[in-house]
């Protein structure tokens, strides 16, 4: 029960932070009024003083912002505690809240799976609320009021937490909509730019279409059972066809939210539009809620899994992973790049979930548990490093007033702390050993390599190919984030803004990213802490734990069996430290050559190296653009401006590059076209003639009478 209270507290505190944001904006005015009228008969000097200090012109706004974020942070802390408690406790708690429809109170259930996602949300929210106060100070109150931002952030976080608690379809949808709609307002927060309004509209549209698909999938399940509670839905027995229909609808609905290709287009639009700490929450946390929805629906409610669904997930996941990272590589806008990279990571999660489903349906529940665990661990890792990178992007935007990678450069000298934190994020997302991203990909590979137990020849050859695609994804991700870090932080500054950039003044902005970077490294070295928790979740949900869960000590990671595969991150760390330390010590023992001599970089003897001679973002990715040319819609032009007597002298050369997503012309434009056509056809019956309309009413009336009689 204690756990339940913690969980409720997390929700209530997030709502409270939203309300506080809204309320105290009004109260500032009221207090000022009361101050004016209460001067004569107000006798408590201490209280007076306190009020005065709070209401002081300059400090009030910042104090208030801090208070709102403190509440939000507390909500995160409670979420982490609740999540940990329920995962340790290994049982599921149920409850009912007397809200909602009269015959259907809100059913609440808090089990290991919800607890794990509670943990993900909690960590994200804590990091964001450490970071938030300094970041939002940047917005002008008149144009972008804090009340709106704070209110919807609170509602958004509360909505996400409620989704995890829901145990009936109605409650689930209410919470889901709360999350979607609140985040719509956050995307539309900087509505003065038309691009942001468009992004928000696309987001809302797709969120609603997705919600419709989810409602329909619940409807399919509910029509085979007697009620809308998840318990009733679990009991439903469906024919394979209907189960597949429910699965496809759920995949569409949750996939739209998660951003799986080809229903991903809202992501790269909405993430750059939202404020950075919100994009961090949306990308790091909200996409995971969609993954939660899919897991809950397929692994928990739907009952018997079919291996074909696993193949669908595997293929979609592979396409999203490879496509996402290839698109990410081409983006010059940092936040768009990160959004596409989220698509990649969600793709990896879906891929491993698909593997898990395939193993489950073929009667290998232990291997299914391995895949399930790899997927959840990757979701956790992604929430850490993607949050970190988005918060870093926010700092960069704050300090250089730009998000275009091509205009940055050399920031490692000017922003050493930010650059270090960002480097940690880049290393974990590129899945390098010693960082958390690597562990989950390693587990994913291990799952894929267990394919030998399957009988189906197609699956046996499909899965290794998708594992190779995963390897391609990892290598491309490394290339992409080498580019990101190299272009932003290394080299020479490419613009005045980045030349003048400085480290953030308010160091509290670095605490959030520092927390996340620390966790990325910590869980890269001691992944077993999370894996042990997840093992419990798998036991609860799939009824199976890892093949070799006795061998999980803090030192060794040997999920299948100790004499088959093992990986020991702490020992790798020790090895690297020893090797690096010895070489460092040995080579610098000579005092004469210990200090390095600084000299100008080699310029081939021509002199005058300028920042414009450096490789740019589009130059770095040029080989990829040629090799994978078919993947994008590339519009590349070189315009020469001529001058002189015969117009033969080149005055200036303009290089123009635009990379577009295939899904717009292939999928969405036909749909919009079709909808417009349909609307035109429907428009024909609206003649504008009153007699025709009266005729319609008459016919309808007759029809109704005929139906009734």
């Amino acid at each position: 029960m204690m756990t339940m209270i913690l969980a409720y507290n997390a929700v209530l505190l997030s709502f409270a932070s939203g309300l506080l944001a809204l309320l105290s904006n009004q109260r500032a005015m009221l207090m000022a009024l009361s101050q004016r009228y209460l001067t004569s008969d107000f006798h408590y000097p201490r209280c007076r003083k306190f009020l005065d200090r709070i209401l002081e012109e300059n400090r009030h706004a910042s104090l208030h912002r801090r208070a709102v974020f403190v509440l939000l942070g507390l909500s995160g802390v409670f979420a982490v505690l609740a999540g940990l408690a329920v995962m340790m406790g290994q049982d599921s708690l149920t409850d009912q809240i007397g809200l909602g429809l009269p015959w259907l109170p809100w059913h609440v259930r808090f089990d290991g799976l919800s607890g794990f996602f509670y943990l993900i949300i909690g960590i994200g929210v804590i990091a964001v609320s450490l970071y938030g106060p300094a970041y939002v100070a940047f917005y002008q109150e008149s144009q972008n009021p804090f009340a709106v931002l704070g209110l919807f952030t609170g509602l958004f976080v509360g909505g996400m937490l409620l989704v995890l608690l829901a145990d009936d379809a109605f409650f689930f949808m209410i919470a889901w909509e709360l999350m979607s709609v609140a985040s719509y307002f956050l995307v539309a927060f900087q509505h003065e730019h038309s691009a942001n309004r468009r992004a928000a509209f696309i987001y809302l549209l797709m969120a609603q279409v997705g919600a419709l698909a989810i409602i329909l999938s619940f409807g399919v399940l509910a029509s085979f059972s007697d009620g809308f509670t998840f318990d009733a839905l679990r009991q439903a027995t469906l024919s394979p066809t209907w189960a597949s229909i429910a699965f496809v609808l759920a995949l569409l609905g949750f996939g739209m939210k998660a951003g799986i290709v080809p229903v991903h287009v809202w992501l790269p639009e909405a993430h750059p539009a939202a404020p950075s700490h919100i994009s961090a929450l949306m990308s790091g946390v909200m996409l995971k809620v969609a993954v939660y929805g899919l897991i809950r629906f397929c692994f928990d409610l739907l009952g018997e899994l079919q291996w074909q669904w696993g193949v669908v997930l595997l293929v979609l996941g592979t396409v999203s992973a490879v496509g996402g990272i290839l698109y990410a590589m081409m983006q010059p806008n940092l936040k768009r790049l990160l959004a596409y990279s989220s698509i990649e990571n969600i793709g990896i999660i879906f891929m491993v979930l698909g593997l898990s489903m395939i193993f489950m349906a073929n009667g290998h529940p232990q291997l299914a548990a391995l895949g399930f665990l790899a997927a959840l661990f990757h979701a956790f890792n992604h929430s850490l490093f993607k949050n970190l990178l988005f918060l870093g992007a926010g700092i960069l935007q704050h300090q250089t007033h730009d998000l275009n990678i091509d205009t940055m450069g050399g920031l490692i000298q000017r922003m050493p702390q930010t650059s270090f934190l960002f480097l940690v994020g880049c290393m974990s997302i590129s899945s390098l050993p010693l960082f958390n991203g690597f562990v989950s990909e390693w587990l994913a590979f291990q799952t894929a390599l267990q394919v030998d137990v399957l009988d189906n020849g197609v699956l046996r050859s499909l899965i290794p190919v998708s594992a190779a695609a995963l390897a391609l994804t990892a290598a491309l991700a490394a290339a992409c984030f080498v580019k990101v870090f190299g272009m932003i932080f290394l080299g020479l500054p490419r613009s005045r803004n980045s030349e003048k950039a400085q480290e953030v003044k308010d160091k509290s902005m670095l605490y959030g990213p520092a927390l996340l970077a620390g966790l990325c490294f910590f869980f890269g070295i001691f992944p077993n802490l999370i894996i042990n928790l997840l093992n419990g979740v798998a036991k609860q949900l799939l009824g199976q734990s890892l093949p070799n869960d006795t061998a999980l000590s803090w030192l060794w990671l040997a999920p299948v069996s100790a004499n088959k595969v093992s990986y020991s991150p702490p020992m790798v760390l020790v090895g690297v430290l020893i090797a690096g330390g010895i070489s460092f010590w040995y080579l610098r023992r000579n005092l004469e050559t210990k200090t390095m001599r600084r000299a100008a970089a080699w310029d081939c003897g021509f002199g005058g190296l300028t920042p414009r001679m450096q490789y740019s973002c589009s130059a770095f990715t040029m080989p990829f653009r040629r090799i994978f040319a078919r993947v994008w819609l590339i519009d590349e032009r070189v315009d020469k401006e001529m001058q002189g007597a015969m117009d033969m002298e080149v005055k200036a050369v303009h290089y123009h590059l635009q990379v577009q997503d295939h899904s717009w012309p292939r999928l969405y434009q036909p749909i919009t076209h079709g909808v417009n056509q349909l609307a035109k056809q429907v428009g024909r019956i609206q003649t504008g003639n009153i007699r025709v309309y009266l005729g319609y009413s008459f016919v309808t009336l007759i029809l109704m009478l005929w139906v009734i009689s």
Binding site: G409, G410, I412, L432, P433, L434, F438, W442, Q446, L449, D452, G457, R460, S461, P464, V465, A468, A471, A474, A475, L476, A478, A479, V482, G486, M487, F489, L490, G491, N563, K564, V565, S566, M571, V572, G575, V576, A579, G580, S583, L587, R588, E592, T593, M596, R597, R598, A599, A600, A601, W602, L609, Q614, Y615, A619, F620, T621, P623, F624, I627
Partner: protein
Amino acid sequence: MTWLLAIFQTLLFVALAPLLAGWLKWCKCHLQNRQAPSLLQPYRELLKLTRKQPVVAEHASWIFTRAPYIIFSATVLAASIVPLIAVDLPTAAIADVIVLVGFFAFARFFLALAGLDIGTAFGGMGSSREMTISSLAEPAMLMAIFTLTMTASTTNLSFAIVHVLNEGLVLRPSFVFALFALMLVAIAETGRIPVDNPDTHLELTMIHEAMILEYSGRHLALIEWASQVKLMLYGVLIANIFFPWGIAQGFSIQALAYGLLAIIVKLALLAILLSISETLLAKMRLFRVQEYLSFAYLLGLLGMLSHIILEASR
């Protein structure tokens, strides 16, 4: 005792790497009718470099000066998990072959960053090309390795080698494909002809050299040494996975000496093979490398399919 042996094997690995590079150069010189430098020349060069004071570009950051140590230690760690003269050493359990690929990725990540750090066009060009080639080579390499690991049903190198040893001399079509795939990948990853030319300093053709153009002194020594270790690593992988005979399965002095002899002979033969191919082939255009690597991937895929269709137990 086994730990000591493991550490000894790692040290031996790192110490022998320049010798392999020297032997390779020697073979190549003789094949090309040139006078060969002494076999110990790479050692002399490394020693000379460590004695010199490094010169670093003005605006180089800590990434540039620390990267050589990171690259070197990642490569040494990779060397420590690959069985050289004996199997069943405790270091082999620290990490499996997927982590080995991860170590290479780690070293490469920092090498590419160091290339970008100075802000000259050379570094950027090298980094961009290196990342392109490696991202194509990595799936091909894993495809070849998966064939092996599925046969041996383990990703631990030591166990896999023992498995191959126990099977005896069997001709497996999947292994033949995987061997060729891994050889092609090894050439690409270690920057040899026809993908990259380690001896050139012509800007249009170089990849690895372009990235490390700004390095000097001990930094250069570390990077050069690391790339020699990497070359040897690929050699040992090919030699010990596909032709493991001779490797010590026990820890007696005799077995170990025999294992050392075996690996030296195997590596010497592989180096002769490499030097012949380097003499016969010309470096190819950068945008032909994708075809080369997709061919390697295709070979790996064929190996995998032939394992599944022809050799699997059911």
